[in-house]
Homo-oligomer: 503 residues x 2
């Protein structure tokens, strides 16, 4: 069973997309200020080349050959799946006219610049005109790609194939009614000490602690790096070179460290895709046109949330590793593991999504999905966003929004053309709990080792059931094979209720 | 006067070559060990794409249009020159068969790995078989490109267009007879104190001093970075982002600092190419297929040597800046500027090219050019290199070579396919002196400012006469326009004689 001509063609596309990713990584960690403009042009050229290569006669010929090669292969054969995913990607890109690709690329560049300025000046009106154009482009894109129930479904499908707005609505309703009482109860409790989370340790020491934690979680520095950035991310240039980033020099060293654990989860996924899939369609996102091997964005997020929250915010983890982290930081002598664990699990309603705790985070997502769907459908106008946002924050979390900077201007996503991706954060939370519960229950030695802060057996289970498969299976099939169940909110709600009842 | 279609086509090629250069920079400064293999494949794909784009029907059509557009432009019009250089590059690449390109690419990859191993084990026999293949490929390449006097001329022409082996031989003879007496005299003098050049200051402080020196020389950090590497280099991703590197953690901090000044010279050239040439054939090496704007490799080297030696090893420079450098390093309290200046101008015959001083360096080059020409012509066999090398080192510098590690295995050039490029180091030395002498003599305020350690007027002169022109003029034309003279050894010999007579 071989699809070597197709793999050769996709391999070259993967090379270009990996090069693109190196340029992106560099832009966000190393780039001198003055280099931003020409860098944007370089990325645009590489993106165009990768798309041209995917749509080329050569790739189509290789695809035709490969389709015959896999005809009699088992339905779940990896190369049969690779062939299907190339076919699907070509069909999708074929539906999007060149004019729209260029318009979206231009809007992403211009939009982000205008957003940065608008945010700095707390000026939503300055952002509104380009946002209206962005919404129109998203609408045109949805129409080009095609949809049946709701145009938003087409955008969601780019990140989380097969998921529709109606699925999200049902899930969100179940989550809201399940989380609300746990949240109310938690908010009623006394706040523990947290002021020590802001101890200023200096960048080098926080970096050392971040590195220690990522190594503890199994991230491989022979094939990776951990660098400073403003908005942390993980990125893959094939499984041989998967890089993670963290904030340094921020107020809370603890936020930096949990960010590092989050990106470690993404990194572990990419570092552990089956080596046989390297440079193939099973480790390349040909819809989004980037190098990387996850089943979906939500599945990827499940792996980061799992490491950050299920492992990283658990008491046994800190009982095992807090001494080493204190040593790396060189301080916190009067704080013990229990006090640290309590502090990093504090619950409070706030305005900012990226600072939200486990009980409030999903409400921020529900709000954004509600807005994106309404904007796309024309149910709300761009200029009405600020008022409606503030009303929604009252409705979802009972908080008052003092200004747009802390409200509807806080996220980069709309300006950068990522409309439709917010839901993957909550899908990731739900999947993380479902996978983690199964791993604890069924994984050999997983639960016992976790009690000692040792994630080695957990990693073995995740590698076997999630990581190694890359893009071989879609999210739902992956979940069914790993947990025997479809996506379901039960384990997530049980996890939250159990954790915050005991606190 | 516009060649916009051609500039658009070359602009896209430049984007790909800049991406390639980002990957090269990353490989040599940031890459985790395990990422090397897939990175090599990514670079190979980008190189192939850039070549395909250059040779494409689209570029040829744009070239045809552009040729008509510049028909009546003045002979030295930049866009007329751009058109000529694209035409020349396409013609050259057309002469090289695909088989040879692939063979050379494979040999460069394999050859470098084998060389690293052979060097580590001081085992020339382990390197000999692949070197024989490399020499054969170089011979085939020379035959494909074409030559009249000597096959080596074809290789030299890739780096220093228009220069032949016979030109080099005449130049080398003049240099040898001019430098030898100065060298003999200098070797007869007492050695000054130099032990403090090895003071261990730690990487951060040596980096800070390197940064200070590069800023003093005018390098722009809004469009650049200075990073740690093993073999220092400068690299350009358009003039908006030109990066330099330095050794850190080596025995001699002084070597690290002079390396930084050397790369600063390369960086200044790239940062000061006319902005109108960005992403055009006037800032892209379409023969070597890399982004960068110099007239030739030797011209580029002249700019690094000028900053490193004519500025950086001058007494007034250290009288002006040694206090600040000491401050950055945090030490050397008992050393004054004169003692430092003396120490960094010590002359001695040694085995290693990269450690050679100004009076011995060119002899290392003459030896290598002699060997490369003989290998190519078949006048010497690969297996006879070690003995012949040791004999030649006796002949050129009167030193005994104890082993191949310190002899014929010391340079990476042959293994990496850069046969023909060594001469550019000596051409750079010669040009540096010629340009520097002219700048001092004719440049407004240049000489006076240099006496105060201020290179601002020198920079203005170099920008006007060298840097801004990018690839508009070839080396000889640039020299004639800048100095009124062809390439000549006189100013270099006068500089060396003057400097080392006074010491």
């Amino acid at each position: 069973m071989t699809v070597s001509a197709l793999n050769a063609a996709i391999g070259r596309i993967n090379d270009v997309l990996c090069a693109s990713s190196v340029l992106v990584w560099d832009s966000r960690t190393m780039l001198p200020k003055g280099g931003a403009a020409t860098r944007a042009g370089q990325l645009a050229t590489l993106a165009g080349l990768a798309r041209d290569m995917l749509m080329s006669a050569e790739t189509r010929r290789a695809l035709d050959t490969a389709r015959r090669e896999v005809e009699s292969a088992p339905q779940d054969d990896p190369w049969r799946r690779a062939v299907a995913s190339v076919k699907k990607a070509i069909a999708l890109h074929e539906r999007v006219p060149a004019e729209l690709i260029e318009r979206k690329a231009r809007l992403n560049g211009v939009g982000t610049q205008i957003w940065f300025k608008a945010r700095a000046e707390n000026d939503f009106r300055g952002f509104a005109p380009v946002l209206a154009e962005i919404v129109q482009a998203a609408r045109d894109y949805a129409d080009a790609v095609g949809w049946t129930e709701h145009p938003y479904d087409a955008l969601i499908g780019l990140y989380e194939p097969g998921t529709r707005l109606s699925d999200l609505k049902a899930l969100f309703a179940e989550l809201a009614s399940g989380i609300k009482p746990v949240l109310d109860q938690a908010l009623g409790r006394a706040r523990p000490r947290t002021e020590f989370l802001d101890t200023p340790f200096g960048e080098a020491k926080v970096h050392a602690a971040g590195r220690l934690l990522s190594e503890t979680l199994g991230y491989d520095y022979e094939h990776g790096r951990l660098d400073k950035t403003v908005h942390p991310f993980a990125i893959s240039f094939t499984r041989e070179d998967v890089r993670i980033t963290m904030r340094l020099g921020e107020k809370s060293f603890a936020n930096s460290l949990f960010g590092a654990m989050h990106e470690t989860g993404h990194g572990l996924y990419e570092q552990n895709v089956d080596p046989a899939y390297t440079r193939t369609a099973l480790a390349t996102n040909l819809i989004g046109l980037y190098a990387g091997g996850g089943a979906s964005l939500g599945t990827h997020e499940s792996q980061s949330r799992l490491q950050e929250n299920h492992v990283g915010r658990s008491r046994p983890f800190w009982q095992a590793h807090f001494a080493a982290v204190k040593n790396a930081l060189g301080g916190l002598d009067d704080i013990d593991a229990d006090a640290f664990h309590k502090a990093v699990n504090t619950v409070s309603t706030g305005l900012i999504r990226t600072e939200a705790d486990e009980l409030t985070y999903d409400f921020h997502i529900m709000l954004r999905v509600e807005f994106e769907a309404a904007l796309l459908k024309g149910d709300i106008k761009v200029e009405d966003i600020p008022g409606a946002w503030n009303e929604a924050m009252r409705r979802y979390l009972g908080v008052e929004v003092p200004n747009d900077l802390n409200g509807c201007l806080q996220d980069i996503h709309w300006s950068s053309g990522a409309m439709g991706s917010f839901c993957t954060y909550t899908l990731g939370n739900v999947m993380a709990a479902q996978l983690f519960a199964t791993a604890r229950r069924e994984g050999e030695g997983v639960a016992e080792a976790l009690e000692r802060g040792d994630t080695t057996p957990l990693r073995a289970w995740l590698k076997e059931h999630v990581w190694r498969h890359g893009k071989r299976f879609g999210r739902d099939e992956l979940l069914r094979r790993a947990t025997g169940r479809p996506l379901e909110a039960g384990p997530y709600l049980a996890y939250l209720a159990g954790k915050y009842a005991e606190a």
